[in-house]
Subunit: 231 residues, 2 copies
């Protein structure tokens, strides 16, 4: 790969996307990161995304503004309680699922890839821990990639195809953490919690699905967990 190739990285501010950013950097890409203010109930993950972007020598960090609240139906955008102490291993689709969110995020990333001439879009989806989210599965990612290559100028002109890179898709949370540690990711600067108890302070509730998976991941990886959990 030429050192001047560029890539788009979806950067939510979580542990997974921080690791994906480090993977894309290690591969030598010029990086355009994209984060979303989509009507989520708190800005905590965006604060983390901006801090991660600042130290990552990016070409550009785009914050896309959209409003998924108009659709409703999710505990992440509506006044629906975030489940606490639930077994995150169940394959049932949880109320924290946001309808079509990854599709909307990847579509915006595709626009950014098209205008920046990037042929790689990195996303930190994970099929193991998020078995309940339909848009985290490999088949979905392949189908998006296929559609993307028919949607764009590059696709129409059959020049370089777009690749959706999901390097974490088959990894466990512990494996992701170990990979991130190797690459020097500052996990203390990442935000996983669905319901942060002290907004603006990067604290984690410790009980939502995302916090439970995060805790378990650090334990299984045998890595000291830098997270500030309130429970």
């Amino acid at each position: 790969m030429s050192a001047t190739q560029s890539a788009v990285v979806l950067l939510s501010g979580g542990l997974d996307s921080a690791t994906v950013l480090a993977i894309a950097r290690e591969q030598g890409f010029n990086i355009f990161a994209i984060s979303f203010r989509y009507g989520q109930r708190h800005d905590e993950e965006l604060i983390a995304a901006e801090a991660l972007a600042k130290v990552a020598d990016l070409r550009r960090h785009v914050i896309a503004e959209l409003n998924l609240r108009i659709f409703g139906g999710s505990a992440l955008t509506d006044e629906i309680d975030v489940p606490k102490g639930r077994d995150p291993g169940t394959s049932e689709i949880p109320v924290t699922y946001v309808p079509a969110r990854n599709t909307i995020f990847l579509s915006h990333s595709l626009a950014l890839a098209e205008v920046t001439g990037s042929h790689n879009i990195f996303i930190g989806v994970n099929a193991l821990d998020y078995s309940g989210y339909p848009d985290c599965r490999p088949d979905y990612i392949y189908a998006f990639e296929r559609m993307a290559n028919l949607a764009t100028k590059a696709g129409a002109e059959q020049t370089s195809p777009v690749r959706i890179q999901a390097p974490l898709i088959t990894l466990s949370k512990a494996e992701i953490i170990m990979r991130g540690m190797e690459l020097g990711v500052d996990f203390g600067a990442t935000m996983s919690c669905y319901d942060p108890p002290h907004p603006g302070m990067l604290t984690h509730c410790g009980a939502c699905d995302a916090c439970q998976l995060r805790k378990k991941g650090f334990t299984e990886a045998g890595v000291e967990d830098p997270t500030n959990y309130v429970a």
Copy 2:
């Protein structure tokens, strides 16, 4: 089809989407229409969309807010001149193409379909007049549909699949106009112009690609053109 089935209709306010809305109504769907304030240079098409929605007995008309200006690269969102007097029949991709726009619009429609339990999404894309737009081709629509059925809860649970309905895809502009006339579409209330000369007045420049195709369509259909062109 049960009279209570619902459908999502992408309503841009143009001649094509007004016809698609009439087709979906004729088929007896309860309709959720969606329009986009996406950073376009003028609100003219949204004014038309709202007027069309008002008389169409919809379940709901959602205006989604997003900002495609952050990506740049199009005469419809940037300070790039809209071409006038260009041959719209060329297959070259014009500067009025907005990167990944239909993918972003369809992704939002998919979210609306998911939360409203709609299994049909109607879009007025047309492969004949817009041969230069990659995201108006049948292959693209099929690929989006396939991806959509892997992206959502209904897809994951393999219940009713989502269908992307593109009833105009193989029609000429004249055929679309004739179909719309049969269904009583008020074409005088629609807006096609990329560069309306008197914002807020529903006037058309008469010279951009969209105006040229519109004029030619009415002529070929042998239907009186109700449009207020300045040239």
